[in-house]
Amino acid sequence: MTRPAILFALLVVSTATLSLTRTPEPAAPAGTARAAADAPVRIGVPPRHYCNMGFFTPEGLARFDALVQKIVAAVTESEELENGYLFKFSGQFREAGEWLDGVRGCCPTIEYSVAFSAQGGPATLRITGGAGAKEFIREEFRKIIHEKG
């Protein structure tokens, strides 16, 4: 076989291989255009920060308000992060966990992560988010932010 013929054969084989291994493009979900047109709520991208209106019952809100008072006392330290805030908690985390469940339900557009130090040390809660999150977090959690100076 001549050199051009070999090159041609290699080209054919590689093209065939590529066509076999190409990932098919995902099909558009059925009714996408219709769903977009009928979308009842426009949420910005990234999602605009909002509070979940239907999360709390009146009783749940009263319980949450009572927990907030305890959380204010339990936060020993707060720290400003680039995209949010960090809070350190003393004592047991049981009620802080209950409070956090309420916060997560009410403020669904931000992220929460909790870490527990060794030897029963403080729990650390990070509340962060994307664009505009920091100002929203500062406003929402102003009661537990310890201003420096």
Binding site: A39, P40, R42, R48, H49, Y50, M53, G54, T109, E139
Partner: protein, 153 residues
């Protein structure tokens, strides 16, 4: 009913500037009407306001807010104080629904206008149509809101 309609009509002509209560407050969007919670007549009041606005051929902007809502406070502070938003809002009948107490009457209004979270800004056109596709959920910036206000017929 007639007395209520007259009151509503007067309110549309002479909007009450809530922000003017404090001389130190920044200028802000003024609310022609505010409906607080626990008002069993809220639905009929809204009907009167919408009827009057339609008769006056003015669109309606409805702000659903609550005292416990951080995003609502930021919307008040950062967006409703923007000069272009204030200017654009001037052609609207502006209505604020305070959902702080989460009562049945407020819940019914929220369902009527498709409110799922706070803040929500809902619109009714000058011809009386609820513009579901223009409804805004969440903390919207001033540039975006001013653009939306310009587009409401």
């Amino acid at each position: 009913m007639l007395a209520g309609f007259v009151l509503v009509a007067v309110g549309i002509v002479l909007p009450w500037p809530l922000a003017a209560a404090s001389p130190e407050a920044k200028p802000s969007v003024t609310w022609s009407f505010t409906l607080a919670g626990n008002d069993a007549a809220a639905a009929s009041k809204i009907d009167d306001i919408l009827a009057s606005a339609r008769a006056a051929r003015r669109p309606v902007m409805i702000d659903f807010t609550a005292g416990w809502c951080a995003a609502c406070r930021l919307l008040d502070r950062n967006t409703y104080t923007d000069p272009e938003v204030i200017r654009q809002a001037g052609r609207f009948v502006t209505l604020r629904v305070d959902a702080t107490n989460g009562d049945d009457a407020t819940g019914a209004l929220a369902r009527r206008f498709g409110v799922q979270g706070l803040p929500t800004v809902a619109f009714v056109s000058s011809r009386g149509a609820v513009l579901a596709s223009s409804r805004i959920l969440g903390l919207v910036d001033a540039t975006t809101l001013a653009r939306e206000l310009r587009e409401i017929p």
